[in-house]
Point group: C2
């Protein structure tokens, strides 16, 4: 396959390259596309030196797959040229996720949707991917009517600047120096920020609405109701989510645990009495979504659970490469 990575020098772009190498993704030709900041700089990938090329409409000619790790405006700018070049655009931005002719895919859940594309396949939001894998097994037992979710999102979700900011604030704290906030609206070290993304008319942030809007599309549950609270936490790279879900048919705790354990991409780690539960540290730098604390919701007889997954990998890069693998097959 001839593959271009759009945003190859960013946090997610670099992880996409790492994941492709790990999974032996078949690459005949590789282009590293970047913005003007990285253009002309070099990087080494699998022993070979590459030069970041500034993305332009002519960059995509002859490519089979373009993995998008750039922001919405960049994705929108280049989507027509990518389509015109006949490549498939697997895009991690939120620009096209809800478009009717764009499949939104978590390969463990709706792989069949990927093949219905008309040039663009969207990679879902990171919280949505992790939550979807965590509840995917339960959703196969009975449709999910509603979910209440509170997220605990790592700083990696804000890209490289988010990672730097936590690191710098912690180093400054240890030295007794002043802590400076630039990437986040206030200090993130030893703090929580209960707002991720712009606030919409109903008081929810865009990030919070993604779990409902994208979750409905991925799970094929157009009426699923989701009330989500997204919170940034001083953790480097795994996202965690506390979920209470209600299914149409009553599911027992044992049935839920069994469904999670059997679901591809999910791991049941649920023995809290013996301190066996998912944590961000345990689940960083790998591709599985860990689920624990599975119990009956005491308000409505649904299921409560806690899940963690690496935001950069399964929440972004790995999921996109898995979609590319569906196309190769």
């Amino acid at each position: 396959m001839k593959v271009a990575v759009l945003g190859a020098s960013g946090l997610v772009g670099r992880e996409m390259l790492k994941v492709m190498a790990e999974r032996n993704f078949p690459i005949d030709e590789l282009k590293m596309l970047s913005g003007p900041g990285s253009a002309g700089k070099t990087c080494v990938y699998q022993g070979k030196e590459y030069v970041y090329e500034q993305a332009s409409d002519s960059s995509f000619e002859g490519m089979d797959i373009v993995l998008g790790a750039a922001e919405n405006a960049v994705a929108k700018q280049f989507a027509p040229a990518i389509k015109a070049a006949g490549a498939v655009f697997i895009d991690n931005s939120s620009a096209f996720r809800l478009d009717a002719d764009v499949p939104l895919v978590v390969p463990e859940i709706n792989p069949e949707d990927a093949l219905k594309h008309s040039g663009i396949i969207a990679n879902p939001n990171c919280v949505t991917i992790i939550a979807a894998v965590a509840v995917g097994g339960i959703a196969k037992l009975s449709p999910i009517k509603s979910m209440t979710a509170s997220s605990y999102q790592a700083v990696s979700g804000a890209g490289r600047n988010g990672l730097y900011e936590l690191e710098e604030q912690v180093q400054a704290y240890a030295k007794g120096e002043e802590l400076v906030s630039k990437a986040f609206p206030c200090q993130i070290a030893f703090n929580l920020i209960p707002k991720i993304g712009d606030i919409t008319e109903n008081g929810y942030s865009k990030e919070e609405m993604k779990l409902q809007n994208e979750g409905r599309k991925i799970l094929h549950l157009p009426d699923m109701k989701v009330s989500c609270t997204c919170v940034r936490v001083p953790v480097f790279r795994s996202h965690s989510i506390s979920i209470n879900l209600l299914t149409e048919k009553k599911i027992s705790v044992e049935e839920a645990k069994d469904a999670i354990a059997k679901f591809p991409g999910a791991v049941l780690l649920d023995d809290a009495a013996n301190n066996e539960f998912p944590t961000p540290l345990l689940t960083s730098d790998q591709d599985l979504v860990y689920v624990g604390r599975v119990r009956e919701d005491l308000t409505n007889g649904g299921i409560a659970l806690w899940c963690c997954g690496d935001q950069i990998r399964k929440g972004a890069a790995t999921n996109a490469v898995q979609i590319a693998e569906l196309l190769v097959r």
Copy 2:
């Protein structure tokens, strides 16, 4: 008043002393009672030197009020002697909270209960106090049927050792040294621990069940259903809680905000679009519970909100001193 502080050298005991000084609590005589570890050591309080006295059954004679900042076993051990001495025991442990003849009091909510004591008044769990103040105004508009809550609990909840452990892990991280875990079951710096307290038969931890069990008693809502997930976060001293609540009568977002703003002990800070929201840092070392992100629950038409409050102060020490003030009045 003749006041003894049981557990005076601990994190909460010291804060009780600080709060009494700040609020000019009328003290004629003060005893600093401790365990054998601190007994004989001295401390300075309001310019006067005190010696920690090892608590014994004879320590309480002549006292009017005993503020308990010790663990359950110590509270249970000395309660009979405190009662026999004719003092009122305002106890921060969970030993007596659910006893029928022990009032469980948040002064902003059920001050009248404090006067119905028979020697012991219990101070509620920290998450419960903070959540109760956050929802207290809404509960006055209509009884709460159910709450789904996910907590983000500071390390101060584990006492001084919890604070030390986060500090030591951060300092070790900054130096590139190994991080050691003693107070918590795993690393807390840059991590989350989704288990606080022992796990009970229904899979919830004791800490998680307190919000239902204690919340029912404080709010006089014996049928209120609560499903709570308690998570330790790498924050020093304010607890945060994401709450979704359902009232018997539909409450609008504006009504909810108005009720929160008017409720004593609560502050409405709710302009997320302009980055005005409660955070642990903002709410540390003060006595009010800050509430923001108030919006309609998209699953059931209830109310979703986010609240933060200092766990050592309103969540423990201040609430206990406020109860003592009710007795003085």
